[in-house]
Symmetry: C2
Subunit: 151 residues, 2 copies
DNA sequence: TCCCTGTCGATGCAATTGCATCTATATGGA
DNA sequence: TCCATATAGATGCAATTGCATCGACAGGGA
């Protein structure tokens, strides 16, 4: 049976987590928008595809990695393809599916987004906490993951 | 001048923060939805208004406290009023404004949401980390706030 | 008093998101 | 083989959100 009433420490930590995470996302998104760059979700997808390399990824694999619903991935990929940042290839052994691969233009866009996004991260996190504190934070957050997770 | 390239620790902590916070919000929202209750934003507003008591709050004060844009507050208050959870009163010394006050039905709704929301917090945070760890987490998150903040 | 500028709150419209469902293909069992 | 069920991905429609702007009033200076 699960406890139904949270401790005061849990409530405080929860409130901070909610507030701070939303503030930081907002800051990072603002910086991108101001630079005339697409939103963070685009970066996430381009990043995953860049890591996947020439082999590419199936859309359903992406759905698992970025925190986006299936229809969100479908629509985002449509936009990325329309902008020439990714390409869709048929896959031989499954007629329903496709392979999505990042294009050179996509890699370039990823780099440009990172220029701004990375600077935001440095300013919002790197300047506020020491390397040790950041590791502590990451460790604690890791233990809150759902599902409890593979390291 | 601000650093433009984040440390690996900063990137890891950032990624965890983004992922975990979104997962937890999603879990909490799902629980509310499944219980047939309104979303978290409703709770935030009802909570602030409950704390403000009979004096109520001006909408622009709410805008500052909950992380919602001005038009978001305006529209949410319209819905809450339509549902009888809050009431809007004219304010004598400022003809543009209004005072928003929670109603008994609003207090009741807040309690009902808390029954589910509090249980989510207990399950998602209280069960995963000790009281000390929660305090550490809250402390670290607090130092990431924007603006750097009044304690 | 009369503007000019600023703030409060609301809203029209476009873009985005969520939900439900659809089509197409795969897979396994009778 | 044929059917029932499951999975991949797309999409119509409704609800929500963001952006820009509006109307109403406040506050100050000339």
């Amino acid at each position: 049976m699960t406890k139904t009433s949270p401790s005061s420490q849990a409530v405080t930590a929860w409130a901070r987590l909610m507030r701070v995470s939303r503030q930081l996302v907002e800051k990072a998104e603002d910086a991108l928008k101001q630079a005339g760059l697409p939103p963070l979700a685009w970066y996430d997808v381009l990043h995953e595809l860049a890591e996947a390399g020439e082999a590419g990824l199936r859309p359903f694999e992406l759905t698992g990695r970025v925190l986006l619903a299936q229809y969100g991935v479908s629509r985002l990929l449509a936009r990325l393809e329309a902008d020439g940042l990714v390409e869709k290839l048929p896959v031989s052994d499954d007629g329903r599916g496709q392979i999505v691969r990042i294009t050179p233009a996509g890699r370039d866009m990823r780099r440009r987004i990172w220029g701004v996004y990375g600077a935001s991260i440095a300013g919002l996190m790197g300047e506020k906490l020491s390397a040790e504190e950041l590791e502590t934070l990451a460790g604690l957050l890791g233990r809150l993951r759902h599902p409890p997770a593979r390291e």
